[in-house]
């Protein structure tokens, strides 16, 4: 091969793109190398997280949203995450079933991703895969999470805009006031607005949001108050309004430099993960580190606490 995978991706080769996505997902050496090579070509795409409980209609919403955005001339990438089986590690990735309108559109690329045992609603490779799409020139990257409960909020750390999808009848106001996924919403979608009970759900959410924001102290910048949008995906109702709010949120984030804040925070986490992994491999293996074995012996004799032992180990970590 005379051209590298990265060069081919930058030249618009879709086969190189799909190959690189697999290498990144599989955490191979090629995957890491290519990610590093392509990093400087990114930073242009807007990453949108779409999350909500199972059956709330995320995939169908992504279908309508991607279609409308591509009609505006944008290149859209979709990372559709589904859960892996905790027993076999396998997965059925079925989001494509609801995205049939998106076939044959050259500007839309759908990639199904298994969470591969990672908790939090996305896979551990999701952000790196999104960056590959970014380098490949996609304008908007839609990350659809697994159907989530009350605590899987990881997508909000990766996405510039987080959309939380609810269906009518999600529960009462107490559900909404609980800590968890409502706090991460930049935009709330009440989906399936053709079903009964939609207005009650909307007003419960709006009420909770008002309460939350009037209780907040005045900060330096005007806080973004999450709008609530009614959407009926199959009818296409509410999609234009949703896109208007997405644009407004992007404007707000850019105006206050909050998009780069998200990237900085994600970068710190990523550096932390990498450092942790390096330390674990190099220093936390009793087979290769006799010092650790000695410390553990002292710990079991109650001569040292694990915390004190950790600090001894840190003192001896050599700069390489």
């Amino acid at each position: 091969m005379n051209k590298s995978l990265s060069e081919r991706l930058l030249a618009g080769d879709r086969y190189a793109l799909t190959k690189i996505l697999s290498e990144v997902d599989n955490a191979t050496q090629i995957g890491y190398q290519t990610s590093d090579e392509l990093y400087s070509f990114g930073g242009k795409a807007w990453i949108v997280g779409i999350t909500g409980s199972p059956g709330s209609g995320k995939s169908t919403l992504v279908n309508s949203l991607a279609l409308r955005l591509s009609e505006q001339g944008k290149k859209i990438a979709i990372l559709a995450v589904d859960p892996s089986s905790p027993f076999s590690g396998g997965a059925i990735l079925g989001d494509r079933v609801r995205m049939k309108d998106l076939y044959g559109k050259p500007d839309i690329f759908i990639r199904s991703v298994s969470s591969r045992g990672h908790l939090g609603g996305v896979s551990s490779s999701t952000l790196r895969m999104a960056r590959i799409f970014d380098a490949a020139g996609f304008d908007t990257i839609l990350i659809e999470t697994v159907g989530i409960g009350q605590n899987e909020i990881e997508v909000s750390k990766l996405a510039h805009t987080t959309i939380v999808v609810e269906a009518p009848g999600f529960g009462d106001e107490i559900q909404a006031i609980k800590a968890g996924i409502l706090e991460i919403a930049d935009i709330l979608v009440v989906n399936k607005s053709d079903l009964p009970g939609v207005d009650a759900t909307v007003s419960a959410l709006v009420g909770m949001i008002d309460l939350g924001y009037s209780a907040k102290e005045e900060g330096k910048i005007t806080p973004w108050v999450p709008p609530v949008v009614k959407v009926s995906s199959p009818k296409g109702e509410g999609i234009s309004e949703l896109i208007t709010f997405m644009d407004a949120h992007r404007g707000y984030m850019r105006q206050h430099g909050l998009d780069s804040e998200i990237e900085k925070r994600a970068a710190i986490e990523e550096i932390g993960d990498e450092v942790e992994q390096w330390v674990r491999e190099k220093y936390l293996n009793p087979k290769t580190n006799p010092e650790l074995t000695a410390l553990i012996t002292q710990i079991s004799k109650r001569e040292l606490s694990p915390r004190v032992a950790a600090h001894r180990l840190i003192r001896n970590i050599k700069l390489h």
């Binding site: 190959k19 599989n26 027993f87 059925i92 494509r96 759908i110």
Partner: protein, 132 residues
């Protein structure tokens, strides 16, 4: 490194019987594979496009309509055009004996009729990757 075998299970053509496809998808998941399920009424172009975007190792095609000799060659041709000649293609459904050899001749890796065990399918897929 955590490579998984990725399989696209596709139903081309007009027949609406997807129970077989779903049973196979379920079994492959339980065997630790990542199965991308596309749903009913897919055209060969849609299947090849999904295979490319998902970078699958295997495409499993379920056909009960009798149109296998029309649909399968088209899918194989499109996979090749997309640079995915290395993808293994398995066919399941109602396939008359005399057509099975034709399908093998076209490059299909295996054909499964009614009553085929999911265990056999799993083993065949695994075997086809051990050879490499």
């Amino acid at each position: 490194m955590n490579k998984k075998i990725r399989v696209l299970i596709a139903k081309p053509g007009l027949d609406g019987h997807d129970r077989g496809a779903k049973v196979v998808a379920w079994a492959l998941r339980d065997a630790g594979m990542e199965v991308i399920y596309t749903g009913l009424r897919q055209t060969p172009t849609m299947i090849a496009e999904a295979a490319l975007q998902e970078n699958v190792d295997v495409v499993g095609i379920s056909i009960l309509s009798g149109a296998h000799l029309t649909l399968v060659p088209k899918i194989l041709e499109l996979l090749k055009q997309n640079g995915q000649d290395q993808v293994k293609v398995f066919v399941g459904g109602i396939i008359p004996d005399e057509d099975i050899q034709t399908l093998f001749g076209l490059g299909v890796a295996n054909v499964y009729g009614p009553g085929a065990s999911t265990q056999t399918i799993i083993e065949d897929i695994r075997k086809s990757f051990q050879d490499e």
